[in-house]
Symmetry: C2
DNA sequence: ATGAAAGCGCTAACAA
DNA sequence: TTGTTAGCGCTTTCAT
């Protein structure tokens, strides 16, 4: 592969002249430039990225990490991220951390090794360990969860949606219909996201004066299969069964729906159900699924904008962003006439 | 940021010793290695990728380009690609070419500039221009369409599914139910993918001795919105209307379904419908959508395997791969009792 | 307007 | 086992 030296030699000019001509920075006589450009084409020249990066210290890449590549939610986020990043010429490196701390650490390490100029990180569990590493990083980072270190002075930024409030809204939506036996399928309580959403459930019940009932609560993993298993377990293991169930995301709600089908429990005739994420799929399932919109694309867009701001060396302090969740009510959660009268 | 020189200096050894100790290649006394590793940690050292790349000429990245980031089909492919690439330590750069030749050329240029070691490219239209550029590339490339240059000796490989046969199977599925008025919503005929699938439609009709009828055929763009518009146009503009419609992908079928809803045409009671891609959504829509499975994940996995094979410098000639499409019949395409008797 | 030369941080062939 | 040295291909300062 030809280098600027080959071009320089062929034309009897110096490599620096070639560099200037091709990059457009610095002086170069128009005629010389033309000859250089022509020679570059003849030699099938293409600038070498690694050499350029080594010199300029920028990679033009952004790392985007998600905890579960199978969840369409993140692809909605990608739309937004890409919309913003593309015009700036940033490339997107996509990485699946599989909700494993080790993989998240690997992602952080990639940044230390300058694979990318910045990172947008989604995690179910921002904790002391990954946050500590993140704060040691020089490259800008934007998270999609709220996190404030006790010590303060965090180096990263975040854009977040109050999922706690979102789940609380779901519970309110149920109680406002007179429902009192409300179940919940969430994530692991050891994880930040799991705690947040569970807290919304707890608050919602409390607000309505309803007790927590372990029989109606399951911990799962945000996957369809996990929701299915949790659904079976909950439907089999609770007497009386709940009248309504809030799932901490749509994927688990789909799985729960599958469990209901299997158990011949009709939604919403026998049981009300709601999810969270508002995947585009949810408007088309049967029954159409009530869900809390987290505005995935907007999160992505906002996160990318914050990141670009920081990567461009603009060091004016920026505010962390806060998006409001929005309950989208569809068939699955609305009590039909004759609700609860099981057909036989 | 610390370099191996900083470590070398601190310890009074040479940079190459540090390099050997850290990379594990070449001799290094165990004790020296330990001291070096400790010093590296103390100095918060991380190897610089661009320097390593410049020297080793490998980027450990693979470029994956898709013509429409909004289509979940490609995310199924990503699962497969990532499954294969991840164990080898390859990172995935995702790029949306927006079905524009210019963007495809940009992707090819990225490879020339060594942004990545190889590429998996999805395009609706492999044509002389992009193929010509692809053949000039040194880096390995795997396409997801069949393409054989007239001149032969193509440098790239491909894994393909016979979508022509897939659409033909859909038409057969319709005709086997006695349906004779069969419509089609496809891609642009100027594009390779559009031609292929249309050809399947044409052959299917021909096989059943049915004539082509322009009233029942629409060109669109593989998006939901495109399918919706094509649906409205077809439903409004054909007298008599078709009894069944084959859509060239699921996204357009969803759009078509939306158009049907709007026009109060019931599927499958008034009209049969089928798509192609077999997105996971299709098993959950209402009605559940019949679709041709293209095995997205398997395409991804296979393509990635071929690419890895080539990137590892294994130059034994490899066969292009061929996956068979599979019709998955669901509610939307099965003639119910009383089909065609419009309710009023 | 152009050229010479240094250097980005790493690897690897060769010498010691 | 370790050190010396020469690049990888580009940018950029400084001199001409």
């Amino acid at each position: 592969m030809a280098t600027i030296y080959d071009i320089a030699e062929k034309l009897g000019v110096s490599p620096s002249t070639v560099s200037r001509a091709l990059s457009g920075r610095g002086y170069c006589k128009e005629e010389t430039r033309k000859r250089i450009i022509q020679a570059a084409e003849e030699l099938d020249y293409a600038p070498d990225q690694s050499a350029k990066m080594l010199k300029t210290r920028v990679s033009n890449k952004v790392l985007f990490t998600v905890p579960d590549m199978c969840n369409p939610f993140y692809f909605d986020m990608i739309q937004g991220i890409n919309d913003v990043l593309d015009p700036y010429g940033y490339l997107l490196i996509l990485m699946d951390t599989k909700n494993r701390l080790e993989e998240e650490k690997r992602a952080i390490q990639l940044l230390r090794e300058k694979y990318a100029d910045g990172m947008i990180m989604v995690s179910f569990d921002f904790c002391e360990e990954n946050i500590g590493l993140l704060n040691r990083l020089h490259a800008p980072v934007v998270l999609t969860n709220q996190y404030v270190s006790p010590a303060g002075k965090d180096r990263f930024h975040y854009v977040w949606v109050d999922t706690q409030l979102g789940i609380k809204d779901v519970v309110r939506h149920f109680t406002s219909q007179g429902i009192r036996r409300i179940g919940y399928v969430g994530g692991r309580l050891q994880e930040q996201t799991g705690r947040e959403r569970y807290e919304g459930y707890r608050e919602g019940l409390q607000e309505a004066g309803l007790p927590l009932c372990a029989d109606w609560i399951r911990e799962s993993d945000y996957t369809e299969q996990g929701g299915y298993l949790a659904g079976l377990s909950l439907l089999n293991g609770s007497h009386p069964p709940p009248e309504a169930v809030a799932c901490a995301n749509d994927l688990m709600a789909y799985g729960f729906l599958r469990a209901c089908e299997e158990k011949r429990i009709r939604v919403p005739e026998d049981l009300l159900l709601a999810g969270m994420d508002n995947l585009s799929l949810s408007a088309r399932t049967s029954p159409k699924l009530t869900s809390v919109s987290l505005r995935a694309e907007e999160i992505g867009r906002t996160a990318a904008q914050m990141l670009v701001h920081r990567m461009n060396g603009d060091n004016r302090p920026i505010e962390n962003e806060h998006l409001r969740p929005k309950l989208v009510v569809r068939e699955s959660s609305v009590k039909p006439a004759g609700f609860g009268k099981r057909e036989t």
